[in-house]
Symmetry: C2
DNA sequence: CTCTTCAAGTTAGCATTGCTTACATATGTT
DNA sequence: AACATATGTAAGCAATGCTAACTTGAAGAG
């Protein structure tokens, strides 16, 4: 029935039928265009509803942002998992690919990326968010541990995994903010990743 | 005369006399308290002027932000330089200290730190800003090159310096955003820094 | 000392925003 | 068919960024 309604959308349905999702999508676009200071009113315009409608689905702007961020984190996690799965276990290219997928996501959707890790205003201790972050992190820990041939709970391995995470995270932000030292603007990213990977994960 | 006026401030001077600087200071506090979405109106209240006054000194909120960021970057650069100078040239502790000073600044003034590197909205190609960034980066490059015993323009050294920068930058942001993987919340930061330093700058 | 000038304040106001309250309508259940 | 509920609208509030037009007072010229 919802499917039927979706098809008829546009025919002056009083009830939108899919507002929650379409709002999230509209906000995602806005965030991508203008950064995290998106305007709810503008999102409403794009979804074709009144400015009061969102508050039937979300408590306030923070909760909207939370929804957008959760979706984005899920997409990013899947992208990273796919990148890791692209190489067989133990292959050193797994790690480089994993890091590259992180940076690629940041560059492909800079507004979202910045929003995911910036603006933690409304949700300081959000369980779903921290859990999503942990799951993503777990991917890195697994791959690193596997590469080092130790348990995924090995503290040393996890420390190295975290260091690698810091590196790609920092590199991503510096790229986005165009805060790259000007003599670095045309670095060979692959070479950089390889160098760091080799340094952090000795054979 | 300006000094005289400054002393008398509070005695209903029509002309404030020091508004530009006091606005920047008020905004700095606000950014620290509430992040980059500070309210100009609130800053005006704190400086004791009308909400229209700032526009005699700044074109818009982006220009205000720019002023605050420039001051912050200067402070941070001096802190880093001081940290580097705390150890003699060649001492490996110079690098650890430099990195630590970066993270310390981020933790001590999280709002400012986030604002410095986030919100690049109004100033995409600001010369003063990129130059300030480059100068700070130069400190790291110098120390790293010195440690490796090569020229400060050595590409290999600069790549390693950049990798280290990425690492501390990423770690800082992850700390601020409390996006640390939960099993990492009580890491020994000194150990982490040492590990990364050793890995990236082999003897 | 007075006159003029101009930087640096003010007040008033506009358009926009986030969010609330009260009302309207469609949908699914009984 | 009637009702309850979910989901939309309309109207309105206080706050915001910014502008326009007016006011003030300090500094320099005669």
């Amino acid at each position: 029935m919802n499917d039927a309604k979706s098809l008829v959308r546009g025919k002056k349905n009083y009830h939108h039928g899919d507002l929650r999702d379409q709002l999230l999508e509209a906000v995602r676009e806005l965030v991508e265009e203008q950064g995290p200071d998106f305007s709810i009113a503008e999102a409403c315009r794009r979804a074709g509803v009144s400015t009061a409608a969102p508050y039937k689905h979300f408590r306030d702007r923070h909760e909207i942002m939370r929804g957008v961020v959760l979706l984005a984190m899920d997409r990013m996690r899947r992208a990273m998992q796919a990148a890791a799965d692209a190489w067989p276990a133990g292959d050193p290219r797994r790690i480089a690919g994993l890091g590259q997928s992180y940076v690629d996501f940041a560059r492909a959707e800079p507004g979202l990326f910045r929003t995911m890790f910036g603006a933690t205003e409304g949700h300081e201790d959000d369980k779903a968010l921290t859990r999503a972050g942990d799951e993503t992190c777990r991917i890195v820990e697994m791959v690193v541990a596997e590469h080092l041939g130790v348990s995924p709970d090995d503290p040393e391995a996890n420390l190295r995994a975290y260091a690698l995470w810091c590196f790609v995270h920092g590199h991503s932000f510096l790229c986005l903010d165009a805060k790259l030292p000007s003599d670095m603007s045309l670095i060979d990213e692959g070479m950089l990743m390889r160098m760091v990977g080799d340094a952090m994960l000795p054979a």
